[in-house]
Amino acid sequence: MSIPAEPAVVTPATAVRTVWRGFAWLVRQFNILTGYLSAVIIVITAGVVCYGVIMRYYFASPLDWGLELSIFMLIVSTFMSAGYTQLQRGHVTIEIMDHILSARANRVRYLVGDLLSLLFCAFVAWNAWTYFHEAYSEGWVTESIWAPKMWIPYLFMAIGMSALSLQLLVQTVEALPVLRGMFAKKVN
């Protein structure tokens, strides 16, 4: 969660910039990819739900995995696309203050907002990783016959929240006035 304030003396600024841009590009591409995949997962979930209904109603052989698989896919898709949604600035904000404050004050306000968001998301990401670790090492499963491993959705929650945090980090750094011009890059 550390923000590279000043480039280290030993490294030429251009190298830092290149590395940073590469990193920012990676984060963006990862979030775009997982965003799309998450949408596909929702489509698949619709299919799973329909399949479950048909198997139960027409073939009287209910799935013992349909419900939990659907829930898990929903959770995976929510967290894995949180970074994509942030990239698109799709997480809704209350923008009433926009019209009251000056443009400059608004920039500062949004920067602070992004930083605070980063704080929250990084905390949840860290917490999700510890939960994943616990579920994995203790071998938690759900209480159903299918009994899928709980670490799987926790893992995706942890990855998703981490990717979201990195996305927030990239956006915050690129908005920092000190660094503007140095790291600034067009957001697609």
């Binding site: 799309y36 619709a46 209904v53 929510t78 942030q86 809704v92 907002g113 949840v124 999700a128």
Partner: protein
């Protein structure tokens, strides 16, 4: 620090964060985190991820992403525009006809879906752009969808009525029946407002004398209308499939969302030939952005609720209200105000779970009919979904129509909150609006 001070502080910090420009989801979460750190035992901090996870680990929530997908499939493809142009051909003579169609569409959808944000999203995705295109003000277009969407929890099936029924030990069947009359009453009130407001906007546009989409002269012959009729068919088939699946014992109300989503997708791919990359991109990215945004708010607002419940803020306030020892109508009024205030921050489910057990004995003692009260409470919670600062339906609309500022949505929705108040007054004067059906069947 005593509980009420903590409660006020909690509300204050949350407001501050909400207005800081943070996304709502993270503002609610961070505020919860701060109060966990400040006022709860240290191990609680380790339960944050599990708390968020536990809220999403819930099958009934699945209806939201799936109905969002359904809405996006129709709204982001030609299907939505198509059905609205045929609707327009039929309704263009009625002032506000298309607005009325949207209110009715919300009501029909509410009968297939137990969740308000899902109803809002499914109808709004195509409804809002179509209304705005035909000259409705953004405020009216978004307001009527936001308010119409709240019918999702009043018209059966309803997730919140089920939870109320369990908490208040009332018949869910009777509660569902009791929701029908008031649901229709609100539809009627909304419809009247839409016609009135539309006419007003049209008159204003006329007197301004400028060009305005609302004034565009249109004419459709009966021949045009008949020709557009087949375009309704796939939609009618989809609605029929969903209704049959739900009331015919194929699927639960949650599963119906999957059928609706798959059906809508199939429809736009086969009938509207939207299988190209560009079409699919629009549908998929639209779905994911909106669904994730809503689900994150739902998850963090549960974290927010958890902290509020742990600190006992809501419970203590409810207890205080009960101990005032008010008479029947004073208590009823107090509870109404209280629920509206809780609606500032809390989602309906949380309100039901936290306050029903505490106010129930008083409601009983004062002889207030619990079925009737459940309906009133539902309408109050519907108001909470569309009033700021935290109103889930407002955010859903903002997600569907990102170009329309939230403040305009809020102003457009305000009159509908007034109509809901009128609805509650009518329910107090004529309890049979709710109780006739359950008492006779």
């Amino acid at each position: 620090m005593d509980t009420s001070t903590i409660g006020l502080l909690y509300a204050g910090v949350t407001l501050l964060l909400l207005f800081s420009g943070m996304p709502i989801a993270f503002a609610l979460g961070l505020s919860a985190l701060v109060f966990m750190a400040g006022f709860m035992p240290p191990p609680m901090m380790q339960s944050v991820a599990e708390t968020l996870f536990s809220e999403l680990n819930n099958f009934t929530l699945l209806t939201i992403p799936l109905f969002v997908l359904m809405g996006a499939a129709i709204g982001k493809s030609r299907a939505g525009a198509d059905v609205y142009s045929s609707l327009n051909a039929w309704l263009y003579r009625i002032p506000g006809g298309l607005g009325l169609a949207n209110v009715f569409a919300c009501a029909v959808f509410a009968a297939m879906c137990g969740s308000s944000p899902a109803t809002c999203s499914a109808i709004g995705s195509s409804g809002i752009p179509q209304l705005v295109r035909r000259g409705y003000s953004e405020g009216l277009a978004t307001g009527l969808i936001a308010a119409g969407g709240t019918l999702g929890i009043l018209i059966p099936p309803s997730l919140t009525l089920i939870l109320y029924g369990l908490a208040a030990e009332q018949s869910i069947g009777k509660l569902f029946m009791a929701g029908v009359g008031p649901g229709l009453m609100l539809v009627l009130l909304f419809a009247i407002w839409v016609v009135f407001k539309y006419s007003l906007e049209r008159r204003q546009a006329l007197s301004a004398g400028d060009e305005h989409a609302i004034l565009e002269a249109e004419h459709f012959s009966w021949r045009d209308r008949m020709k557009s009729l087949p375009r309704f068919l796939p939609f009618l088939a989809l609605i029929a499939a969903i209704m049959i699946a739900m009331y015919g014992g194929w699927a639960t109300p949650s599963e119906v969302a999957g059928i609706g989503a798959a059906g809508a997708l199939l429809m736009v791919v086969t009938l509207y030939k939207c299988w190209h990359r560009k079409d699919m991109d629009a549908i998929l990215t639209g779905t994911i952005r909106e669904s994730t945004m809503i689900m994150m708010i739902i998850a963090t607002s549960f974290l927010f609720t958890f902290v509020m419940s742990y600190l006992g803020v809501t419970q203590e306030a409810a207890q205080w209200l009960v101990e005032l020892g008010l008479g029947k109508w004073a208590f009823f009024l107090g509870v109404n105000v209280f629920i509206v205030m809780l609606g500032f921050f809390l989602p309906p489910v949380a309100i039901i779970l936290m306050i029903t057990p505490i106010i129930l004995p008083s409601l009983n003692a004062l002889g207030i009919d619990l079925i009737w009260f459940g309906i009133v409470m539902t309408i109050l919670m519907e108001m909470g979904l569309i009033h700021p600062p935290v109103g889930l339906n407002l955010f859903v609309i903002n997600g569907i129509a990102p170009d329309i500022p939230l403040s305009r949505i809020v102003w457009g929705t305000l009159p509908f909150i007034g109509l809901m108040v009128v609805g509650i007054v009518l329910l107090c004067l004529f309890p049979d609006i709710a109780l006739w059906l359950p008492n006779h069947f």
